[in-house]
């Protein structure tokens, strides 16, 4: 089986979120970059698990980003994955990114394309669906379990108030979230091996972005908390009922 895992860089979850150039750009100074958690913990580890079950599996990683993505793609290779492709361009438009990935994927004969359910920066939850459309493959989003037997995948996904399990013939695109796999830590052997794994850099194809970011805003600062004394709990109920009117 051949698996393609889409990897995105994302700011560390504790990073301070601020903007520069009249709020038109994310302030990257001092920000630590990590592999987008959904891509790492779920999509990538699932691919590794599938390879452990069937050693005949090849895992390719792909990222769309400039050279500052190299440390995270090396880290992804240290966790697992046989080789990586970096498309050398930075974009905020999901369609632009999906079209770059699809260009690689359509010639790669992949049986399974895995993404995280969203990135923790732009939260668009769009790449998987767009990619599936561009590749004309079925798509299962928000997967909580992925198993493959022969050329059939059995995938559970989050639906409104529950879970649904479906069978689909490969090839298939899946966006992964909690439940699909468990986070792993790269070991020394993986880190050493990653240094010599191929990391190919390609230039982007011409694609017109469909959207553009005008600028960013930060939410207004929250007013101070209204504290109620621990021996006056009924007062909290009253405030929620009469002042906040939330029940």
């Amino acid at each position: 089986m051949k698996i393609l895992v889409c990897i995105s860089k994302a700011p560390d979850t504790t990073a301070k979120i601020s903007f520069k150039d009249s709020n038109t750009k994310f302030e990257e100074a001092g920000v630590q970059w990590i592999i987008n958690p959904y891509d790492e913990w779920y999509a990538l580890v699932k691919a590794i698990e599938l390879k452990e079950q069937d050693t005949n599996t090849t895992i390719h990683l792909i990222t769309v980003g400039e050279s500052d993505c190299e440390p995270i793609i090396r880290k992804a290779l240290a966790l697992g994955g046989d080789e990586a492709i970096r498309i050398n361009v930075d974009s905020n438009d999901s369609y632009y990114i999906a079209a770059q990935i699809s260009e690689v994927a359509k010639n790669g004969n992949y049986d399974l394309v895995l993404t995280g359910k969203e990135t923790i920066d732009y939260n668009s939850s769009s790449i998987g669906g767009m990619l599936a459309e561009l590749l004309d493959m079925p798509y299962i989003s928000l997967a909580t379990r992925v198993e493959v037997e022969g050329n059939t995948a059995k995938v559970s996904r989050e639906i409104d108030g529950g879970e649904e399990t479906a069978e689909v013939k490969l090839p298939l695109v899946v966006s992964c979230q909690k439940g699909v796999a468990e986070q792993r830590i790269p070991n020394m052997r993986g880190i050493m091996a990653a240094r010599t794994k191929p990391l190919k850099v390609s230039e982007p194809i011409t694609v017109t972005a469909l959207t553009s970011i005008v600028n960013f805003d930060l939410p207004p600062a929250k007013a101070n908390v209204k504290l109620v004394a621990a021996d006056n709990v009924a007062e909290l109920a009253r405030l929620l009922h009469e002042e906040a009117k939330v029940f």
Partner: protein
């Protein structure tokens, strides 16, 4: 030119998030001086002409039972055809489970720019700009859609529904629906519970509750409020609660009217999933817990004493009401 709102269903009933999309779509149409129509996929029991109450002129249906299951590929093709046939140039989805499966596919298929997680009406003073949440709710981005057809997927629970009088025309679209490639073999609905992302009130517990055996006080409070229940990540990881209850940056992101956090410290990753809640109440024994900085109301104290008293006080108000 018109606005087409994609209606989503669960067990043959229109979802609450779709009513939000209806109200939003009608406002967009008003703003642009055009009509808002709805597209219902699959078979639903609701009286569709009543969608007129929301300001809808026409309800288009594709009443094919294949569409009672969401196969993103089949859905996207049907919606794209319906868009062309109805001449719609703005599509509205809810950014719920179905929207996340389908809307981006439609975007790629129609080469239509999309904004997901939208939290405001478009600003059309200079182009077509929609505000969306980014960085897991820590900021907003104003995104310009630069294509003739535009798609907006709105955050659930971000827009109130409103309706008046009115009757909509219901008409069937004659669209061929492809056979699905996805074969559903099992559906597990957590019955009797309010779905987390649609809940008006969410009661959530953290490691401060010490163990799964102590969840009773939280469930009692949730029951009294008709609330959904949630938890912090370590609680989900330790299997004290099912993992679909885990809220936060790497879990479910929610925006209820009321979020009650019990024994949760308020780590930045947790806040990222809940900071769009309208009112936040924190119960924590540590006055220095970071959650108090993000809260509207709080009690510093032992959850095991406070929570049952709160449930009781709410019950009193509810029975007198």
């Amino acid at each position: 030119m018109s606005v087409l709102i994609i209606i989503d269903q669960t067990e043959n009933q229109i979802k609450k998030s779709s009513y939000e999309a209806l109200t939003y779509g009608v406002s967009v149409a008003h703003q642009l001086g055009t009509n808002a129509d709805a597209l219902v996929l699959g078979t639903v029991k609701d009286n569709l002409s009543e969608l007129g109450k929301y300001g809808i002129k026409k309800v288009y249906t594709i009443s094919n039972t294949i569409l009672n299951i969401v196969d993103a590929q089949v859905y996207a093709a049907a919606i794209a055809t319906a868009t062309t046939e109805t001449g719609a140039n703005i599509l509205i989805f809810s950014h719920n489970q179905t929207g996340k499966a389908v809307a981006a596919r439609v975007s790629a298929r129609l080469q239509a720019g999309i904004v997901t997680g939208a939290c405001s009406l478009p600003d059309t003073t200079n182009g077509f700009v929609v505000k969306k949440t980014v960085f897991s709710g820590k900021a907003f981005a104003n995104v310009s859609i630069n294509t003739p057809i535009k798609i907006i997927a709105i955050n659930p629970n971000s827009f109130h529904t409103s309706f008046k009088e009115g009757i909509a025309d219901v008409s069937e679209l004659n669209i061929t629906v492809a056979s699905p490639k996805i074969k559903v073999i099992e559906v597990n609905k957590i019955s009797g519970e309010v779905p987390l992302t649609e809940a008006d009130i969410v009661v959530s517990g953290g490691r401060g509750l010490k163990g799964p055996e102590n969840w009773g006080i939280l469930l009692d409070l949730a029951k009294e409020l008709g609330a959904a229940t949630a938890c912090s990540r370590p609680v989900g990881d330790a299997h004290w609660r099912p993992h679909h209850e885990h809220v936060g940056q790497t879990g479910v992101q929610i925006a209820p009217n009321l979020y009650i956090a019990i024994g949760i410290s308020g780590a930045i990753q947790h806040l990222a999933g809940v900071n769009r809640s309208k009112v936040i109440v924190v119960i924590n024994k540590d006055p220095e817990a970071p959650f108090f900085k993000a809260a509207d109301y709080g009690i510093v104290g032992d959850a095991f004493e406070i929570v049952p008293q709160l449930t009781e006080a709410i019950r009193k108000i509810n029975t007198n009401a």
